[in-house]
């Protein structure tokens, strides 16, 4: 292995071609951390790295300058008062808005997942009518902006004034005014949930298609019905493919709920808007909302990590069958027929 000028092989443990790379990385770490320790290593390996990789070091320098500027702005800005942020961060009205945001996220994701699964099964159906109906739905709901859909549901009463249950084109047994039925909350849930169903259906479909046909064949050969095969064999395996993007969708949905502030539903964003409309502390209140969104998305990301790990079971050859794993696999086999219901519960936390 050729040693480059400035880096002596004796300075570095082992001998690998990655030695230059490793010294550069450690240089970045010590550099941004204040660089007090390991001065001799810094001098030798990292100064030579600086000479060798000027572009990278230019970018690092620019980034550090911007970070410093941002820190300065956050600390000294007159419009951003941290005491105001602190005051409103735990305000009752805003916390109520946060709870509504969480509720909307969970409910809309539930509608999206159930609806998406139904749409995916329809699309995969051999029936021409079912699959094209699902395709048309997906085409429409993915092809129009979510904001427009929310406004549309909010104003549905002027399009369909009364909703009645009865024979189509015949007599009706019960009827109600659409305005009474589709409240702001219902409009928000319809807008978010039905739109989500279109996206979820593609995710579920990809998951189902990814399951090897041999699995279905083996289940059928054991005398399992098609329904049982789907529920016990295909869907649980499809989950591995479905779960990661569903986590992303949930995080997207959390932020997407802010769109329903346009129909005056007092979720997190609307709650802070209401406050800053009165006291004009726009920036601090937007920071309050942002901080809450950040906190919840961070929690969801951690949750997603654990759910994904759970569904990876049986996928890795070197998976350690720890005691907990075995305990879980035992639970898995003893769960009653409603097992796939748990799965869905896991998805939307």
């Amino acid at each position: 292995m050729a040693t480059r000028p400035g880096v002596r092989a004796t300075d570095l443990p082992g001998s690998a071609s990655a030695l230059d790379e490793a010294s550069v990385v450690s240089g970045v770490a010590t550099g941004s951390g204040g660089g007090a320790g390991g001065a001799s290593r810094w001098n030798r390996a990292d100064l030579s790295a600086l000479v060798r990789k000027p572009a990278r070091w230019t970018v690092v320098a620019v980034a550090l300058v911007f970070l410093a500027m941002l820190g300065h702005l956050l600390a000294t800005s007159s419009s951003l008062q941290w005491s105001v942020v602190g005051h409103w961060f735990v305000n009752g009205g805003i916390l109520a808005g946060l709870v509504r945001t969480l509720y909307l996220t969970a409910a809309a994701m539930a509608i999206g997942i159930v609806g998406g699964t139904v749409l995916a099964l329809m699309r995969l159906s051999r029936s021409w009518v079912l699959s094209s109906a699902a395709s048309a739905y997906i085409w429409f709901f993915r092809g129009t902006p979510l904001l427009v859909q929310i406004l549309f549901w909010f104003n549905i009463a002027s399009f369909v004034p009364r909703i009645s249950i009865g024979v189509p084109f015949g007599p009706s047994f019960a009827s109600a005014s659409t305005n009474a039925l589709v409240t702001t909350l219902v409009a928000a849930l319809l807008g978010l949930g039905l739109n989500e169903a279109a996206y979820m259906s593609e995710i579920v479909r990809a998951g189902i298609v990814s399951v090897d046909a041999g699995q279905t064949e083996a289940a059928l050969a054991l005398g399992m019905t098609k329904r049982l095969t789907y529920r016990r064999i295909v869907l649980p395996q499809a989950m591995r493919i479905i779960i990661p993007p569903t986590g992303n969708q949930t995080i997207g949905m959390l932020k997407g709920t802010s769109l329903v502030s346009v129909i005056s539903l007092p979720e997190l964003l609307y709650s802070v808007q209401e406050v800053y409309a009165r006291n004009f502390e726009t920036i601090p209140l937007l920071v309050v909302a942002s901080l809450w969104y950040l906190i919840v998305t961070s929690v969801l990301s951690v949750g997603q990590h654990f759910v994904e790990r759970r569904f990876r079971r049986g996928q890795e050859r070197d998976a350690k069958t720890t005691f907990r794993e075995r305990l879980r696999s035992h639970q898995f086999s003893t769960t009653a027929p409603g097992h796939d219901v748990d799965i869905q519960a896991d998805v939307h936390f």
């Binding site: 050969a221 054991l222 005398g223 890795e316």
Partner: protein, 230 residues
């Protein structure tokens, strides 16, 4: 042909009877009507199948694979099913692998779990679709040993295989097929020892010369005690 016996594939013509029961169809007013998906499922309960690519349920442990159908299909009590499943795993020599997932098992081990899974339904007939062709030659023996044990216990088996030595030793009747058509059939000694057909001879000489797998030919072989298939 094997996949027609449990109606995973629809035969283009002809009828298959297993233990006197017509498979996949029903005679209704002088016409054959295909069974519904659920009726087919009922028929398949009595016919076990082992696949070339194992097809173990990858999200379940070995034990879970064996227990799945008796619990979900036959609604048998769980404790009893588990006892029986552990016995079956012990019978195929995998008692210690009950909690392993399929990816953690070798091909031969997976195939033995697959055999145990099929046996858990107490089938009247076992179908083996080239059970050893996806296996390492060194591992083939462990699967054949399990099958030999089954044959000795009197299980009716239909085996598609290229393992001529095994076929000769275990089977009651050998059928040689090529391009979906029976070329020759008879006792193992007759077909494999003194083949009358040129095509059979050609195949046998090639396969004994080669290491294991044949080529495009598809030799089918029937083995077993009661020979209930017609």
């Amino acid at each position: 042909m094997l996949r027609c016996i449990n109606h995973l594939e629809r035969p283009s013509s002809g009828r298959i009877y297993v233990d006197g029961q017509l498979i996949g169809n029903r005679l209704e007013r002088g016409r054959f009507v295909e069974l519904s998906a659920n009726e087919l499922a009922v028929q398949r309960r009595h016919i076990g199948m082992v696949f070339q690519s194992f097809n173990l349920f990858s999200h379940m442990t070995a034990l879970g694979n064996v227990m799945e159908a008796p619990i979900r299909v036959n609604m048998e009590p769980k404790a009893e099913v588990e006892r029986n499943a552990r016995e079956l795993l012990a019978r195929v020599g995998l008692a210690d692998k009950a909690d392993a997932y399929p990816v953690q098992l070798s091909g031969g081990q997976q195939q033995r779990v697959a055999i145990a899974r099929a046996l858990a339904m107490r089938p009247k007939l076992m179908l083996f679709d080239e059970p050893t062709s996806a296996l390492d030659p060194e591992i083939v023996g462990e699967v054949l040993d399990v099958m030999r044990g089954l044959a000795n216990d009197g299980m009716t088996m239909v085996v598609v295989t290229h393992e001529m030595g095994f076929a000769r030793e275990v089977s009651d009747r050998v059928v040689f097929m090529d391009g979906g058509v029976i070329v020759e059939e008879g006792s193992p000694d007759q077909v494999l020892g003194h083949p009358s057909h040129q095509r059979t001879r050609q195949f046998l000489s090639r396969i004994t010369g080669a290491t294991g797998d044949g080529g495009v030919e598809e030799p089918a072989e029937e083995a077993g005690g009661n020979g209930g298939v017609r």
